[in-house]
Structures are given as C-alpha cells and as structure tokens.
Symmetry: C2
Subunit: 404 residues, 2 copies
C-alpha cells in the first residue's frame, strides 16, 4: 500500500496521443501551491518541456505538473516551444476556474511540464487541449487515482513504477510518494526517464532542490541501460507542506534526504529491471576508491560495458571483462591490489584470478535475477554503486526491430 | 600482392599453446638491427609483454619481435614478468648463434615481445622454449612466410589481416608492410589488437615513434567494437633502413607518415569488420567541430552507442539515436545547427528531422556492408572519423556463450 501525501490531487485521461488509446495525459494538482525542484537531462538535445521546467525550478508556488506520454515534443524547434507554452497556459486557465479558491491566481509560470514518447513529431494539440479540459473534470487523491497516474505516464514500461516512504517530522509522519517511468530501452522515445516525487513535508524550494539533487545523483543518475541520456529525462520534487507548517530541523532535513534517496534508488532500480529481454539486474559496487568521483567513473564504466553485460546474461563469471573494464575507466589504481566479488564468490585477488568453481558461480548467476559485482580497490575510502541490466539477444532483437 | 620490405625474416611455428594446434609462435628477425617504436594499451591492467616492450621503445637496434598467440600472459603477476624476460632471453640467445654475424651481440633488451590469447593463465613455458628453438630453424622472407606469420598471430580472427604500401624516398621505392590481428569481439582474449608495421625506409627511432603515434591515433585508436581496450593491445613499427642509408627529408617523412596512416586505417577497419555476427562496418564522420578533440569525443560516443549499433543492424534510419548520442557526448554545440547524413541521405537538419523516405534509406542500409554516418556541427573546422561494427543478436549470442 502506498503512503500518499496530503495536498495533491491526480487526474489521468486518454487524450488520444497514443495510437493504442491508453491513458496519456496526467495532471497533478497542488491547490495550496507546492515548492518544486527539478533535475534534468544533461543531453545537448533538450526537448521543449525540459527547457520550460528547467527555466522555472526551483519554483514556489507550483500549482500543477502536467505530463503527456506518447509524444516527447523533442526535436520540434520553435513549434515545440510554442506548444509547451500553450499547455502550461491551458492548465493555468483551468486552475483559475477550478473550485479551489487558492488556484484562482495561477499563472502558466507556476505550471511544470513533462513529455515522453516519440521524438521529432509535433504534438497533436487538438487532442492535448481536449485532454486538459477533461482532466479537470475528475481529480482524485486515493491510491487508485495515484496508480492510474503512474500508468498514464508510461510508454514502453511493462508496468507502473511507484513507491513511498515516510519520515518523521516533529513527531508527525510525513509521506514521500514516487511515480516513475522508463524502461531498459529506448527506440523513438529514447528511454526517457521521468520521475515525480511528492511529499507533504514542509520544504523551502532551496531545500527541495538540494535534497532532490543529492537523491538523484545516487539513484536515477546511477543507472544505465545503454549509456544514453535522453532528450526528456526529468525528475521533479514537489513539497506541499500541508502536513506541517513549521520548517524542518537540520536533523529532520537529513532524514528526509535519506528517505528520499532510498525511495529514488528503489524506483531507479525498477528501470533497468524493466528492460525488454533483461534477465538480470546488475548492481556494481566500487569500494576503496581514492575519491567518490573515481569510484563513480569506474562503476559507470563497468555498468556500460557490453562485454560485462553479455557475460552476466550468459551466466559467465568472466572476471577478465570486469577487471579490464575497470582498467580502461581512466582512473589510476594498483592492479595488484584489486579484489573482485561476484555475488558471494571471490573471483580475483592481488592481480590474479582466485581459485573458484566456474560452474558454481555460473549456477548462482543463472538462478538469481539480481547480480552483485563488488570491486575493491584499496586506494582509499570512497565508494559508489550503479545499476544496469544485462544484454541479451532479445534486447538486441527488440532494439533493432523497434521502428522498422 | 604484398610489397615486402627488405631486411626482415619471418618464422612461424606451432608450439602447442593453442589447443587447436595451429601456428602460435612467430619470430620476425631484423639481422641489421632496426629502429623500433611502440604504442600500447591505455588499460590500467597491463600484461607482462606490454610492460616489457613499453619500457624498451623507442629502441635501436631491435633485432627481433617475438609474438605468441593463444595465451596473453596477462593477470599473471611476477611469474608472467619472469616468463616474458625468459622469452626475450631465449630469442636473444638464438640470435647469437644464428648465421648472421650482425646478430652475435644481440641481448634480451633488443628483443620486443607481444602476446595474445586467454588471460589469467601462466604460459606453458616448455612449449614456448621448444617453439623458439624450432622457429630459428627456418626463416623466410617471401609472401608465403609473411602470410603464415600474419596467420600465426591470430586468435578469434576469421582471417589474416595484412596490407602494404610504398613510399618514394630519393627516387627509390620503400615498402611498408602491416600485419594485424584483432576481431570484433573478445572473450578471454579481451579482443587484443596487435599490429606490426615493417619498413625498409631509414627512420631514426624518434621518427619511427612520431610517425607511429600519429598513424595509430587516426586508425587503431579510432576503432571501437565495444569500447574495451585490452590488457595486451600493442602496435610496433620497425624500420630496417636497409633500402637506403641516408635519412629522410622533411617532405619524405611527411609522405611516409601519410602512407603509414593509410595503411593503419586499412588494417584497423578490418578489425570491426571481422566481428562475429557483424553485418555492417559503420564509419562515423564528425565535421565542423570547434576542436579536433571535440570531434573525436563525439565520433567515439556515437561509435560506442549500443542503440546506434542495433539500429544500423536492423536497417533502421533512426536519426534520434544518433543525434542524441552526439548530444550526451559532453561537448557543447548548437542543436539547431546540426546536420546528419546516413550514406547519401539527409536525415536531420536545423534541429528537425528532414523529409526522407524511411524505406529507401532502410533498403540502402540493408544492401551495403559499409555504412557512413556524417554529422556536421557548424561550430568550427575540425573533424574526426571513427569506425565500429553494428550490434546484432549473433554478436550477443557469441559473447554470452563464449566461455561457458
């Protein structure tokens, strides 16, 4: 059961953007005005809705987030910017006439926008306009409305991705709810990853931004499926503050950020797990690095290695591919000091393969969906963790046949 | 027909290191003493023979290069270093008793060593010792001996990789011969790439190093199959100088480096082409970059994209994956100014997909082995070219089943 924060309302409709006529437009309303923070794709090719939201966060008050799926409004030039502006304007107008008095002054600049789906095509604005009007007919704030919203932002996902945690603030329990989308692969929709975190804890917009930046760096920015960052990747955090009026103490803020990070990790791991043809979720832990950045680079390089990913797919305890991937990450370390574990098996130590049973490790790999690679460098005290999926023939088949 | 430089002799034997009992030990002798240069893997995990050769190049005189295939002598610790030292010592001793008077003073420090094959296993030194003794029984310097040497250094290659060019020096024609090994994939042998360039042009050891460094950066360092650099990658250039006693003029040196570069590109392109299951050789040209380094980074990033590689495998003119891969390379450019061509088809212009027939481009992709991606940035005057193979289900099948 999800713990749903107070202060938010959800509406999901089928606007007709998706050919399959599934839900494709979601409005999350925060009638009291939330503080909002965002983290966005690092790609140079950025979709219009990303530009829109990025220019406005951190934001206070934020009255609504509107998400459309099925069309990413990316690589759409001036027309795309115009369409995003119109979407925010339409949502603001609907807010003004909505029953909640507090929304009567909402402007388009207080609305955030996310899009995901095919790129290079203009949004079918007639359908979007009608969808927005329809969305304002029927908001809900129960688990059913929440789950429908989580499904409404999906594209190639095989199921909705949700999670929640609670954090104590002055003896009262606040909720953090997360909705995410993104699957282990790509195609026209470029594996866009969207995340929406909602809490009723009282955060300033600066706190929201700080907390989200930390949590994202350890979660959504630590997963890779094929190394692509998309044109539309966006994670937003909205804090309604309706559960408490006072701000957080330093300790409470630390606790909040920890809980938010754990929730984001939980959601992030669902993304490579959901890849078409993924047979393993691979966790790569790098320990004993000189700096956190070096640990991160090595973990990312191993996670991006097609050879490591095919080996795990094949149940092959191929220490050579893992150690060599670490070796070309561009980080100095002493090759004679590294230790490598695969699940609970020691594969490599002091510059030499360890004595292990290939069959035993292989059986272990084939038995479990989650695989843990642990690489210890003995160069310092820093560590990093990344997640990826394995690389199977089914994955390649899907990705080479997706469009044509 | 190969143009074979004077001053070199070849011997290839079956020492028994390979289970398949194919040729696996090659000695290239230069009785007059060559100048020698080397370029090596950037991996932190470096095999013993790489350490040996790297410490000694640029070198003059170099009397022999010994190459064994079937065992890379990598991840073998102190024992591996000891074994490489012994190999060089054995070759030097054989040189001393060989018929050529000039070799009578050869020392182990004038012998270079290359190894390729499985990693993490000690060399079977008994077999190697006998192989070296046998090799010195029967040198040749004709095309047959050259081709046998090219086959003797192979591991997973489907065929030998050779090429030659000529360059005029003071009205006389000098030869450059190249032997290479390396296939589009990996496994225990980590896709080690070896290259041996031989010329009878008279180069100082500094000239040899300079020329090889330039040629390698535009060829062997501009190919990627899965982004891995191996523990053993080595390219050596030996110049016997037997075809001319005077040195090269500045213009002749420039010509030499150009011809060497073209030869290295020719050899390098054979490596991704030889990948198990490769159905396309993909050339990525990045033009109009602000700096040569930025062009290189973008070309390398596109070449490493599993999504681009699966799209080409599927005959899918997926401009989004290519443009987006360029976008996450970490290089600033104006997305509204990029132009993308796939073979002769304009796919993308001014931040928007161009008007093209998907079927026509797809048919074109499916018809040809070589695919050309050309990305023009309009940010400056610099360019770079990389080569890679496509990513097919056969590739993944092979790589996940290779060992177990």
């Amino acid at each position: 059961m999800l713990s749903i924060p107070s202060g938010f309302q959800f509406s999901t409709v089928t606007s007709g953007v998706k050919k399959s006529l599934q839900d494709d437009l979601v409005v999350v309303l925060c009638p009291t005005g939330a503080t909002a923070a965002g983290v966005y794709t690092q790609n140079q090719i950025v979709a219009a809705p990303v530009v829109w939201s990025q220019e406005r966060t951190p934001l206070e008050p934020c009255y609504a987030v509107v998400v459309n799926s099925g069309n990413a409004n990316a690589c759409t030039g001036k027309q795309g910017e115009h369409d995003t502006h119109e979407i925010a304007t339409l949502v603001a107008k609907e807010c003004q006439t909505y029953s909640a008095e507090s929304l009567s002054q909402a402007s388009c600049d207080e609305i955030l926008v996310m899009s995901t789906g095919v790129i290079g095509q203009f949004l079918p604005m007639e359908k979007i306009r009608e969808g927005i009007r329809n969305a304002f007919q029927k908001f809900g704030h129960d688990e059913e409305a929440t789950l429908r919203a989580a499904r409404g932002i999906m594209t190639t996902d095989q199921g909705e991705k949700t999670g929640s945690r609670t954090v104590e603030v002055s003896g009262k329990s606040c909720s953090i709810l997360g909705l995410a989308k993104g699957a282990g692969m790509i195609g026209p929709n470029m594996a866009t990853m969207l995340g929406l975190l909602l809490t009723d804890a009282p955060l300033t917009k600066e706190q929201a931004q700080q907390s989200l930046t930390v949590a994202t760096s350890k979660s959504f920015n630590a997963i890779s499926v094929e190394g692509h960052t998309s044109t539309n990747d966006t994670v937003l955090l909205l804090a309604s503050g309706t559960n408490r009026t006072e701000g957080l103490t330093a300790e409470e803020f630390t606790n909040f950020t920890e809980e938010l990070t754990l929730l984001c990790i939980d959601l992030a791991k669902k993304i490579p797990s959901d890849g078409e043809g993924a047979k393993h979720l691979i966790e790569i832990q790098v320990q004993g690095a000189k700096t956190a950045q070096q640990a991160d680079i090595i973990a990312r390089t191993v996670a991006s290695s097609a050879l490591v990913k095919t080996a795990i797919a094949g149940g092959d305890p191929n220490w050579g591919r893992i150690v060599s991937a670490a070796g070309y990450a561009g980080v100095d370390f002493d090759p004679d000091k590294i230790t490598l574990w695969l699940n609970d098996h020691l594969l490599y130590q002091n510059g030499r393969p360890a004595d292990f049973s290939e069959k035993e490790v292989s059986d272990d790999l084939n038995k479990h969906f989650e695989t843990k690679i642990r690489l210890v460098l003995e160069m310092g005290q820093n560590c990093a963790t990344h997640w990826t999926s394995d690389l199977t023939t089914e994955y390649v088949h899907f990705n080479s046949a997706y469009r044509t």
